[in-house]
Symmetry: C2
Subunit: 220 residues, 2 copies
DNA sequence: ACCTGAACACCGTTCAAGT
DNA sequence: ACCTGAACACCGTTCAAGT
């Protein structure tokens, strides 16, 4: 296509993302991406060490759309907005969602968002060390929850998580049926996030002079 | 090797797990597994619909070693033992850990362990619906945390998560350095689990007549 | 010196040919 | 009827040959 411009990492990542959005995660092959750009597959290796490095860049590009949280908002709201924004990005680019997942937020947007999380956690009252550990736990949860969400909602080909709900609810002694929000839903996602936020509140109160009670005052 | 026996799903899964343990996740190809068994690659398709189905069986086999928790123990200890057991299984079979991760616990050991989780959560005071939603959140956290742990500890080839700690702690304003337990460590894993357990306690108390206080009485 | 593309060593899976 | 393996349509990456 754009054989005029001189082929930057950004151009390559954008082409790869488009291929992924259009044809799914495993269509993002070096050969397929090169074809999209109208260049030799080997030309990509001049800008990325290997396929893994290229996918890092694609995952980061997909996070461009996630805004920084409003600094005036409370720490819980900021974390919720970050999580929601990352969820939206993952659902907007299901092809790359699994990669957003597993990759360490070393550069660019990943780093930006991880730092925003840590800032919010420090504001919650955690020490820097606690904040980083907590951010890692949050990233872990987000990763897998979004991978599940995309699998289920993506193109409908993986309904197996729905079966889990059904099978488990039967075995649990009570037929829960449709009362249970489907795996990958916004509601299921927020539920897990709420558990973590409650845990963070507890952690924050532990290291400080005891507040007057366990409360949800800061929450939304 | 064992060309005598008639090639069951179990035999195939065992051979695949051995290949994965010995040569890593991406060595578990249909062709390589067939070679290990001394049979035609196509013979595997008589027992599994496709590679994905075979890997489901391998992931489940890897969970054979995870024991049921002591039913006499408190619900928190049971959850901790389940999480610890799954962590051990993942570290014992790093080749398959990423697959233990993403797969719905529909059958066999996955289902067994998911039910044990749900039972513990119901004993914690959650409704069946809450218990299932919480179990999904726990599975999400376990998945990604173990995938990280294996990536870092596996064969040393992915140290990037360590760099995250270093980079983030610098940016967070304070050099945290070695005070921070490494990503993938037992300590980091337990920290995230602790956050979730605290969240579960809060959730359990919400729906019921208020206990006399927030306590860790049931914990270890 | 830089770039290219043929070649290497693989894949998962289909399907027609063998027993 | 059952099983086999050649063949199809791909991979990521190396490396020697071209400009």
């Amino acid at each position: 296509m754009s054989r005029t411009r001189p082929l930057t990492p950004e151009l390559i990542a954008a082409a790869a993302l488009e291929v992924g959005d259009r044809e799914g995660a495993k269509a993002m092959s070096m050969r397929r991406i090169a074809a999209e750009l109208g260049c030799d597959p080997m030309a990509l290796y001049r800008h990325f060490a290997d396929r893994d490095a290229l996918l890092d860049a694609v995952a980061d590009l997909a996070l461009n759309d996630v805004p920084d949280p409003d600094p005036a908002a409370g720490w819980e709201d900021r974390l919720r907005h970050l999580a929601g924004g990352i969820r939206s990005a993952a659902l907007a680019h299901p092809g790359i969602a699994a990669h957003i997942a597993g990759r360490p937020p070393l550069h660019g947007n990943g780093r930006r968002l991880a730092l925003a999380m840590i800032t919010a956690l420090v504001d919650a009252g955690l020490s820097p060390t606690q904040a980083i550990r907590t951010a890692q736990a949050l990233v872990a949860y987000l990763s897998a929850a979004l991978a599940m969400a995309v699998r289920v909602g993506g193109d409908g080909r993986d309904e197996r998580w729905h079966h889990v709900n059904r099978a488990l609810s039967e075995s649990a002694g009570q037929p829960v049926g449709d009362a249970l929000p489907p795996t990958g839903s916004e509601e299921q996602f927020s539920y897990g996030l709420r558990l973590l936020l409650a845990g963070i509140r507890a952690e924050a109160h532990d290291g400080r002079p005891r507040q007057h009670g366990v409360t949800t005052a800061g929450g939304g």
